[in-house]
Amino acid sequence: QVWQIRLDMHLLNHDGNITDAASIAGIVALCHFRRPDVSVQGEEVTVYTPEERDPVPLSIHHMPICVSFAFFHQGTYLLVDPTEREERVMDGLLVIAMNKHHEICTIQSSGVVMLLQDQILRCSKITAVKVAEITELIQKALENDQKARKEGRKFGFAESIPNQRITAFKMESAAVDTNDVEEQAGEIIAKADPPSEIFATPVLHTPGTAQIGEGVESSWGDLEESEKEEAVEEEGESEAAAFECEKVETEDTSTLRETKTGEPIVLSDSEEEEVVILEPQELPRKTR
């Protein structure tokens, strides 16, 4: 004869990363649970009620805790414990379950990201740190509850919810200084030229090589330092191409040139790092 235990989890509300929260809730519930005491004499099994003998805890050998990592931009950016919005737009997810003895219990990767070995090792180091913190919190909470029960104080779920206060949809406000948003925005707009219209006419560099859409910036992007340098290199190359490309002396190129020079904010949508244009020198002669 064995005991069978069932764990039901009810999700009341979430802002992403249900896995981690559920793993913590599950292991705490199991550690907190007490089962009726049993004594076995030969074939006779006596199950004592909670009044006869104090119920005993389960034998939990270790506490595995899940930690989730969200990857963006093919592994360039890593976020620990993603929120709902971050989860919706992430490329890939890595979940590592570890206990405080640094033993990995579960590792699961999903999504469209190819992970490198050193990334996974880095994630497991972060997991070790987080799991140590969380395990300590859990121990403290279990001890507090035990003390409260011994001292006769109130305990339980109802007690952990503060009364007379609406906290169900409360969110700590992240301080965002919107005071000089308009000035900052105004500065940026003053320095930048307006984004060029999308011209469908292709720019013909050489017979067989045409370019559509270069020079259009999205206003939805923020510029990182490295992207800026690459964008500047791209500008240089495409500028050179634009100058040598005699055929396109329409407004298209002139706006192209204008937006390229002195443009501090460019989001490069291009997947390629370098824009290599084949045989730009020979174009003027050939097209004439």
Binding site: R85, F169, K170, M171, T178, V181
Partner: protein, 226 residues
């Protein structure tokens, strides 16, 4: 005679005349009504009288006639599968758009946002949506345009925003011009001229969950003052 539970009278005084409307949160059982959700009991005296339970929840359950925002997750032959935030994905036929014929199909891609209403929504069947009303006109439904920002709020806030002459929307429209689509499944889509404005409106709408009218007016005054 008290049965197991307590039986309460809905209104002190004579029994109401005419037909009594039983709204969300109440269900008929035998001679009386059963309460199925926790919340405040509300009463509208108009007509024969209507009773319902005002409850706060985030989880949406599809109801026939509700206008919702769905996200296209799959195209299966002639039918689109939409995620509406319920327990099952809803189905939407490609012919359920204004002016759609077998030759003239609507341009719907996976990941698009659709604003439509339920024609079938019960616990036994998969919910079905359409983007036309009973006369065949779209009346505002269909594919929601590019860009913009979709976010989720509680159903209580949705009902507040959909009430006629909602103060929140009137005050926000003084701030910036914007496009707004409100789905009864807790989803709101906003689009303003710039990303900044869009995000500001999103943050205000989310904060309206727990801000009082005074705090909201203060926040908006700070924003429009700058």
């Amino acid at each position: 005679e008290d049965a197991e539970g307590e039986r309460l009278r809905l209104s002190a005084g004579a029994a109401p005349q005419g037909r009594l409307l039983c709204g969300p949160g109440l269900r008929r059982s035998g001679a009386g009504l059963l309460v199925t959700t926790c919340g405040l009991l509300r009463h509208r005296p108009g007509g024969g009288g209507a009773f319902w339970v005002d409850s706060q929840q985030k989880r949406y359950v599809p109801v026939k006639g509700d206008h919702v925002i769905g996200i296209v997750t799959a195209k299966a032959g002639d039918v689109f599968r939409l995620d509406v935030g319920g327990s099952e994905p809803a189905s939407l036929s490609y012919l359920a758009f204004e002016g759609a014929t077998k030759r003239n199909r609507p341009n719907v891609q996976v990941g698009d946002l659709i604003y439509g209403q339920f024609v079938v929504a019960n616990k036994d069947m998969e919910p079905e949506m359409v983007c036309i009303d009973s006369s065949g006109k779209s009346s505002g439904m269909g594919i929601i345009g590019q860009d913009g920002f979709l976010f989720k709020v509680s159903l209580g806030l949705i009902r507040k925003l959909l009430a006629p002459k909602c103060e929140i929307i009137q005050e926000l429209s003084q701030l910036y011009p914007f496009e707004l689509v409100i789905g009864m499944n807790g989803r709101i889509w906003v689009k303003a001229k710039t990303v900044q404005q869009t995000l500001i409106i999103v943050n205000i709408l989310e904060a309206c969950e727990y801000m009082t009218a005074e705090q909201r007016k203060q926040a908006l005054a700070k924003l429009s003052g700058n």
